[in-house]
């Protein structure tokens, strides 16, 4: 692999030693960056599917980038917990455990599923755009309103559900 001396300066990585993350009294994620306090910090994953615990971008309350946490695991445990809570809140993505039915109405399939967060019915407007398969087995769905759902490994579902998935992907 070619090493890139010219690139490293551009990354704006936050050193785990310099930062402390916590939820303040308002339950808002707060960043203490060497004494400089950022309130209401927003979080964004740079690689939400391929590296959900790496490259977490921290944004200030105006949405501008403060810096990047390279790896969640590098943080001290309190900061990590706070960041994980913020991520969990932002990236709500229930896991589909069973597909009860997929019924197509006017080419818009309606999915009726059981998730780890309960029962849910939603519509997928375009299976080309809104259904993504990652690593051949992981399925990410986006419904008509933009909500996300995930099938961690569709081959591990029950046989009926597998048939449903295979007709779509």
């Amino acid at each position: 692999m070619i090493s890139h001396p010219d690139l490293t300066g551009d990354l704006s990585l936050l050193s785990p030693r310099d930062i402390r993350l916590y939820l303040d009294d308002f339950d808002d994620l707060t960043l203490d960056l060497r004494g400089e306090i950022h309130h209401r910090v927003g979080v964004q994953r740079a690689f939400p599917f391929n590296a959900p615990t790496k490259f977490i971008v921290l944004l200030n309350s105006d949405g501008a980038e403060i810096g990047i946490v390279r790896d969640l695991g590098d943080l001290d445990s309190d900061s990590r917990d706070a960041l994980e809570i913020a991520l969990e809140q932002a990236y709500f993505m229930p896991r589909i455990l069973k597909i009860n039915s997929i019924v197509s109405n006017f080419h818009v399939p309606t999915w009726d599923v059981e998730t780890d967060r309960g029962h849910r019915v939603f519509e997928i407007p375009s299976s080309r755009r809104d259904v993504r398969v990652i690593d051949d087995v992981r399925v990410i769905l986006r419904d008509a309103d933009g909500n996300r759902y995930e099938i961690v490994d569709y081959r591990l579902l029950d046989p009926d559900s597998i048939v449903f998935v295979e007709t779509i992907v």
């Binding site: 690139l7 490293t8 964004q44």
Partner: protein, 765 residues
Amino acid sequence: MANASEINLLEIPPQHILDGLIPSHETVQLSASTDICLDGTYGTAYLLATDKHLFAISPNGDSTPHTERIPLSEITNLEVKDLFGNSLLKVRTATTGTTLARFTKGQNQKFNRITHQLETLVKDARKTEEKIAKGQLGRAISGRRCDVCGTIISRRVGVCTNCLDTRKLLYRLLAYARPFWKLGTLSLALLLTSTFIGLTPPLLMRELIDGVLAPSENYETTFFRDITNSIYGMPTGYEILYFLVGLLLLINLSQSGLRAIRSYILSVLGQKITYNLRNEVYQHLHRHSLSFYNERETGTIMASITQDVGRLQDFISDGLQEIIRDIITIAIICGILFTLNVKLATLVLLPTPLLIIATLKFGHRLHRTYRGLFRRWAAISALLADTIPGVRVVKAFAQENREVGKFQTRSEDLLKGEIKIAGIRSIFSPVMAFITSIGTLIIWLVGGTSVLDGALTLGNFVAFTQYMWRFYGPVESLCRLNHRFQRAASSAERVFEVLDTQPDVTDRRSAYAMPAIEGRIQFDDVTFSYEPGKPVLKNLNFTVEPGEMIGLAGHSGAGKSTLINLICRFYDIEEGAILIDGRDIRDVSLKSLRNQIGVVLQDPFLFNGPIAENIAYGNPDAALDEIVAAAKTANAHDFILRLPDSYDTPVGERGVRLSGGERQRISIARAILRNPRILILDEATSSMDTETESQIQEALYRLVQGRTTFAIAHRLSTLKHADRLFIIDKGELAEMGSHAELIAYDGIYARLCRMQTELSKLRAW
């Protein structure tokens, strides 16, 4: 401002929850349900406001619901956060902040409205006019000639029909089947066995009639009788009947079995051959230089991989065996017929020449019409392939009606062709049926007379009729063999053309790997032409020092892109030499050369995959750090984070979901990541606004340090960092020097510069 009557009171939680929660002197002003509970499970939770308090009620399994209560007067801030997977309502007081509701994104609108109504309630509760903060986190070539005979090759057929040597082709095709000869032989053996078995039932029929149903005196004992005798001793009629029925059952069973096994083996054989051929064709396609693709339509190339290969498979695995079967069937039936009765056999064969002539004649017409039809289908696909991707242009120029009209014309042509085919076909089958019926007539007349005369047994008569029917089928199909052959041959020719064309830019036998490039590039009297006799670059002579940045400018069509194509060795030059670090680029391996060159094109091509993969296209195992860093350098990071899934967002086919400038920035990141020794920027920032461009300029400036760089740009300000400028005019190096030198020279560059300054003054107004 909203008044009480507008307030949403429809979604009220069950009464038993409300009891004891709401103080008796307060009245419910607003109530709404959510679809995600506060613990993150799906379910109905409620948001409820009285004139004094705001409540959140969230179910908590079977135990008492989780509730939150906040006095309205203390609320300082209400915020609907539209996050990636769900949304939430956050309420802040001077000292605390609480998430009071979580909901799916379909409810955003409702909660935006509710937030509005809540604000009114809050104001009323506070009885002050101070404003509360409300935040919302929004979120083809014509006239090509055959190399051998010089005839013009049709673009559609793509091969010289004049030079098709079908026998040679067949031989080559068989070469692809050879590795699977065991499977092939097995399936042929099965085919022949089932053909033999399939020919026996008429003989059984004869036995049934002559031996059992209507025993005839001049019926000689046959093979079957011998067998039944050996089983039953002296069998009764019933016993022979049972035996024959049993035998027929066995024959039918074994034939079905054999057919099933054979069709499976044949499919496997066919698919294996196609698999090899398809991969070989595809692999070979990637070895060709760009000129191969310039001369051919993409559609034709793709058809080679899909259709032609499929047709060949059909022919190799199925067609050949069927031919063998047909020939053998004809021979066996002829043998049986002549054994049964020579005179009758001769008569039965009488209509055969007629049948052959008719099949050939009709077949020829059908084939020609089909070819016409194929052309019309192709015309329709070509139209679709052209207009559907260009649909934005069609719409922009409001040409929908014209396009629909064009389609209808072609569709009508197709309709006419199909009707013609239907006409030919509907005559064809009755004529064939009539010709075959002549055979029946002869058998009825001559054979019937013989039966009456006692010269022919009834069983023989019936057997004859049955064999006759089985005889004509193979004859017909052999007559159509020629067309099948021709079709396969033209497919084969197209496929072999791809396989046979020697890539014109290849590694020499003696090619060695290019060592790490320092960056001295030397053009030594280089002349290049795409088409013979029309040189695009003429007698170029120059040397670029390692690390130098060269700006290429000149009118469009002057040959700038061509020049850099030559450095990448996309084409080979005929005259002169291009040297990198003193080595002729034709002496080194392509891979080692191109690995050290980074190219950013004006209209960069992105592949349908996530952004991250596209950035890492040249180095698939780049670390995430490097991907993000490259994107930052290329000024792409910020817009990537605004995409729904950041770096994991798919870009769509050819990157359609990104703007031109965004695609260019991805492409720059790709080049940066490659860390090339020679960097080529062909109007790499042309689709960006001036501001974005100047931001990237700084990054690019850092990037080009220490690398030899060629940058082509129309906006001359883009080239301000260039050490030297080359002005190309009509394929010649017209001017060369620094900005100041060229301005002093007062030539083409000076004129271009003045024109652009005028323009920018105009813009400044």
